[in-house]
């Protein structure tokens, strides 16, 4: 089944649970096969501006790979990640009690039909569930908002970049300087491991869990959007330039492009704490978002679905 012919723009007559399942399935399929346009553009620009030979060879291979994946309708990378969803639910939306079950079903279906690599392993028995579901997985992040529509984002998150995510409980005295050092050191320590060029989600404040969650959520912001707060936008630019001055380069083989972008977010902090979190995203920055409106029309925001 080609997802292009699988448009759900018209008001669906499906039961809400089936509709959510279909949307979840489509989002996973779209995400692992086609990168959002902001990521593709950033990779193309990086290729044009890269000066290191090895860097150019690798960026070219990345661009060719993206093209082949779209043409052949197959996942960009064999690591189709841990399945994470972000759900922004209007308080008045229908069927919210069905969302979790529907997204679990969507994940199982995508695992066999796309296919996705089964990536959900019991940490104690080492048993792979085989269908990408398990305890807390797929993980759903919930936000309750106004209105009656539901926004669902799928973020299949690769393991290589996840393994170098970093959390630092630095002292308030170190402040922003400490934050900059922590981020830069995390990039240097990560080196070639997270499949650079990366996208960095950086968050400061809250507490350990809040910082990390906020950092990961920052990865959802498109690369062509800076933080609306000019000071934070400046910090993003400064961290971007710092990371790209390291020389790590594409795939750690040397070059100008170690990161494609840095997205900074924050929460207010405890007077005694200064949590800093860095979420790494590999170049295959796979994400897809859709809205399900109250009239059951569906709009895909990150991908063109004809």
């Amino acid at each position: 089944m080609d997802f292009n012919s699988y448009a759900l723009h018209g008001g669906s007559t499906l039961e809400i649970e089936s509709l959510i399942e279909d949307v979840g399935f489509n989002l996973l399929r779209l995400a692992v096969i086609r990168l959002p346009s902001d990521v593709k553009e950033a990779l193309q620009k990086a290729y044009e501006a890269e000066t290191s030979e090895a860097g150019r060879v690798n960026l070219k291979a990345i661009l060719t790979n993206i093209e082949f994946a779209e043409k052949l309708n197959t996942p960009i990378c064999q690591d189709t990640g841990t399945i994470i969803f972000y759900v922004k639910a209007g308080g008045k939306a229908q069927g919210l009690d069905k969302v979790e079950a529907a997204l679990r079903e969507a994940t199982k279906r995508a695992t066999t039909e796309v296919p996705l690599r089964p990536n959900a392993v019991d940490p104690f028995t080492r048993k792979n569930s085989g269908d990408n579901t398990g305890r807390f997985i797929p993980y759903i992040n919930w936000d309750i908002t106004d209105g009656d529509s539901v926004e669902i984002t799928a973020l299949p998150k690769g393991g290589g970049s996840e393994n170098v995510c970093a959390l630092g409980m630095i002292t308030p005295g170190e402040g922003v300087k400490g934050l900059k050092k922590f981020v830069l050191d995390a990039v240097i320590r990560a080196g070639a491991k997270p499949c650079p060029p990366n996208i960095l989600g950086v968050a400061v404040g809250g507490g350990a869990d809040i910082a990390m969650k906020t950092a990961k959520k920052a990865l959802l912001r498109p690369l062509n959007q800076s933080n609306p707060n000019p000071e934070l936008a400046r910090l993003e630019k400064e961290l971007y330039e710092a990371a790209n001055s390291t020389g790590i380069g594409p795939m750690g083989l040397g070059g100008k492009f170690t990161v494609l972008g840095v997205n900074v977010e924050y929460a207010h902090r405890h007077p005694a704490s200064y949590p800093v979190a860095v979420a790494f995203q590999c170049w295959a920055a796979r994400r897809a978002t859709a809205w399900i409106n109250a009239d059951r029309t569906v709009e895909y925001l990150t991908h063109e679905v004809r």
């Binding site: 030979e53 090895a54 060879v57 690798n58 070219k60 291979a61 990345i62 060719t64 790979n65 082949f68 994946a69 052949l72 197959t74 996942p75 960009i76 990378c77 064999q78 690591d79 296919p115 690599r117 690769g158 290589g160 300087k177 900059k180 050092k181 830069l184 240097i188 080196g191 070639a192 491991k193 499949c195 400064e238 710092a242 001055s245 390291t246 020389g247 790590i248 380069g249 594409p250 795939m251 750690g252 083989l253 040397g254 590999c282 170049w283 295959a284």
Partner: protein, 201 residues
């Protein structure tokens, strides 16, 4: 930077022409092997048992592919490289015992492997992490599946490949290691970046 297209089995003489930063495409036979397969292969060698295939002059690929089986035929859907550092503890003996000429993966390998490559004549070819479709397209045929009891990702997949690449020669058989060179440059750059960010003094 030179571009090389080599056909397996590759000789010692051929492989020694390659230098770091060169680009390599491999045609011929390639075998996937991750941690478990490396471990078992070395055990077999110690016990004097033959491997399912002689690896002499071939390429070994650190990869756990996504494969599909249709009517008894395997098709490779996605076959990107996995992180090579996990195989560092086996690779020097692996190169010595089986005379593989090309080791393919991502992220680079350490000194022991670099030394073995110099001594026995082999290179490390870095394949772009995540470029799984590009890799799969170069696999023309799955010749055999061996050691399937290790599980699909860990098994030995024997591929017939055509112009598999581009591989960046990141460790050559002259003791050069591109990843180590980059690390040294990064160390040098760090002080300057600290200064620019106002972190010094």
């Amino acid at each position: 930077m030179a571009v090389f297209k080599l056909q397996t089995p590759i000789s010692d003489e051929e492989i020694r022409k390659l230098k770091v930063n060169d680009v390599l495409y491999v045609t011929g036979v390639m075998v996937t092997a991750r941690d478990a397969a490396h471990k078992r292969a070395l055990e077999y060698f110690k016990q004097g048992k033959a491997l399912p295939i002689s690896l002499e002059g071939l390429a070994v690929f650190h990869c756990g592919p996504i494969v599909r089986k249709e009517d008894d035929t395997w098709t490779v859907v996605a076959a990107g490289p996995t992180t090579s550092t996990r195989m560092d503890q086996f690779e020097d003996e692996f190169i010595r015992d089986f005379k593989v000429r090309v080791v393919i993966g991502k992220g680079g390998m350490g000194k022991r492997t670099t030394d073995a490559m110099k001594k026995y004549g082999a290179v490390y070819g870095a394949f772009t992490g995540g470029a799984a479709v590009l890799a799969a397209k170069a696999v023309k045929r799955v010749k055999a599946l061996e050691w399937s009891d290790l599980g699909m990702p860990e098994a030995l997949w024997i591929f017939e490949v055509e112009e598999f690449g581009p591989l960046t020669v990141a460790i050559d058989s002259h003791g050069n290691n591109l990843f180590e060179d980059v690390k040294k440059k990064v160390e040098k750059n760090t002080a300057k970046i600290y200064e620019k960010l106002g972190l010094t003094g």
